[in-house]
């Protein structure tokens, strides 16, 4: 029925036929573009990784850190059906190196008549997910100019904390494994219940903070798999803002002690 209506339409763009064809015969291709300049441990890579796990078909990961990456990434999206752009929020908007990439991508997509579905995953350091709203609007405007289909995205608040939680997960996991091994060797009990309980509790807390992110990521993956729009959603680390601010202040004090900034006119007017 649906296909019937589809072909009855007067104008059926080539890209849509290709998509339908690919959907039936070979798998869909989704390119995940990480727009964080960080080489490793960017929050964007974490968020893209979650959605990537849930998307079926061919999935490709790319990163744009500077102009040298443009050509490679653009060639890669040429035969893609959808792209998911992961972005850090910089001064309420798209980071400058990614604005430059979007301009190139607009030119490239118009030149090669590329029709893609565009999804976005953005995260900011501040706790309110809504602070990503202007960035989402910029991406929508970009899609309109580039003749691409804006499918929406998730704007996430408290990104830095998501990163800390991700690292803590692996630390807790490591400690848990050590506990099990030590208990096993010393007492012969390879399932020490107190360690299991302790780890389960820590895992529960991390999961709880991530619930909003996981929920929307799951819904977005379903939308990508179906090839439909998702709309713009906002979510955050599930923590009241005043507690988040305390945590953020604590975080920067610790980092600034280690990096030495606290002793170099930390808050001074330079």
């Amino acid at each position: 029925m649906k296909n019937q209506r589809f072909f009855n339409r007067k104008f059926v763009p080539a890209a849509q036929i290709r998509r339908l064809w690919k959907g039936m015969v070979i798998s869909m291709k989704t390119v995940f573009i990480n727009g964080s300049p960080k080489k490793k441990l960017s929050v964007s890579s974490y968020l893209l990784g979650i959605v990537r796990m849930l998307v079926s078909g061919e999935v490709v990961s790319e990163q744009v850190r500077n102009q040298n990456d443009h050509k490679r990434v653009l060639e890669n999206i040429k035969d893609a059906d959808a792209v998911v752009i992961g972005l850090p929020l910089y001064v309420d908007g798209v980071p400058s190196h990614m604005l430059a990439f979007l301009k190139e991508m607009e030119r490239f997509c118009l030149e090669h008549d590329i029709r893609l579905k565009v999804y976005a995953l953005s995260n900011g350091g501040f706790i309110e997910g809504r602070q990503n709203k202007p960035l989402m609007q910029v991406l929508e405007n970009f899609c309109k100019r580039s003749n691409l289909e804006w499918c929406g995205g998730i704007g996430i608040g408290g990104g830095v904390m998501l990163n800390v939680l991700r690292i803590m997960f692996f630390v807790y996991l490591g400690i848990f494994v050590l506990n099990v091994v030590f208990a096993g060797i010393q007492t012969g009990n390879w399932l020490p219940m107190d360690a299991v309980q302790h780890f389960a509790k820590q895992l529960g807390i991390i999961l709880f903070f991530n619930l909003g992110v996981f929920f929307h990521s799951l819904r977005m993956s379903i939308a990508i798999n179906k090839g439909v729009g998702f709309g713009v959603k906002f979510t955050r680390v599930l923590l009241p803002s005043f507690l988040f601010i305390l945590a953020a202040d604590f975080f920067f004090v610790i980092i600034s002690i280690f990096q030495g900034g606290i002793f170099k006119g930390w808050l001074a007017k330079k």
Partner: protein, 162 residues
């Protein structure tokens, strides 16, 4: 004190120079922010990249009035102007507070008077709306008490910039 950031050519730079105390030419001859937060945690109010934007956060932090003249890019600043803004977050401190009922960083140099943005180039209505909203958000983020966004139909009218 008034500072102008612009992405226009030298011809305009000459005109604009007379209208302010400090002029920052967004010529793109500098690196984009690498997101390390070193300007808060390692070498406060300075960047590890030794180019013309190394201490630009101090200039922007100290100004009372900031005027930005930029080409429109999807309802946002041109990449070279945005690069300057991204490299300016050292004008804040790593500490957080509420401003406009949302979380923001406290200001190293205190509150500033006014942010004015003039955007030129082809611009859709949706992009104008986005830009207006963006400037409002930036003003809160960087601690400006008031803001204004204006679309320049043609660059000749940049004469009217004051």
């Amino acid at each position: 004190m008034k500072t102008i950031i612009h992405d226009l050519n030298e011809k305009y730079e000459m005109i604009l120079k007379e209208k302010c105390q400090k002029i920052i030419s967004a010529n793109g001859k500098y690196a984009p922010c690498q997101g390390c937060f070193g300007c808060w945690t390692k070498h406060p109010a300075g960047c590890y990249m030794k180019d013309t934007l190394e201490t630009v956060c101090r200039d922007i932090g100290k100004t009372d009035e900031l005027v930005i003249i930029t080409e429109n890019c999807y309802g946002a600043y041109s990449p070279s102007v945005k690069n300057v803004l991204d490299r300016s977050i050292g004008l804040s401190t790593p500490f957080s507070t509420y401003r406009g009922r949302q979380m923001h960083h406290t200001l190293r140099y205190g509150k500033k008077e006014k942010l004015t943005v003039y955007a030129y180039g082809d611009m859709t209505d949706a992009e104008k709306e986005t830009f207006q909203y963006m400037v409002e958000r930036n003003a809160i983020n960087f601690g400006f008490q008031t803001f204004e966004f204006r679309y320049l139909e043609s660059l000749d009218k940049s004469e009217g910039i004051n």
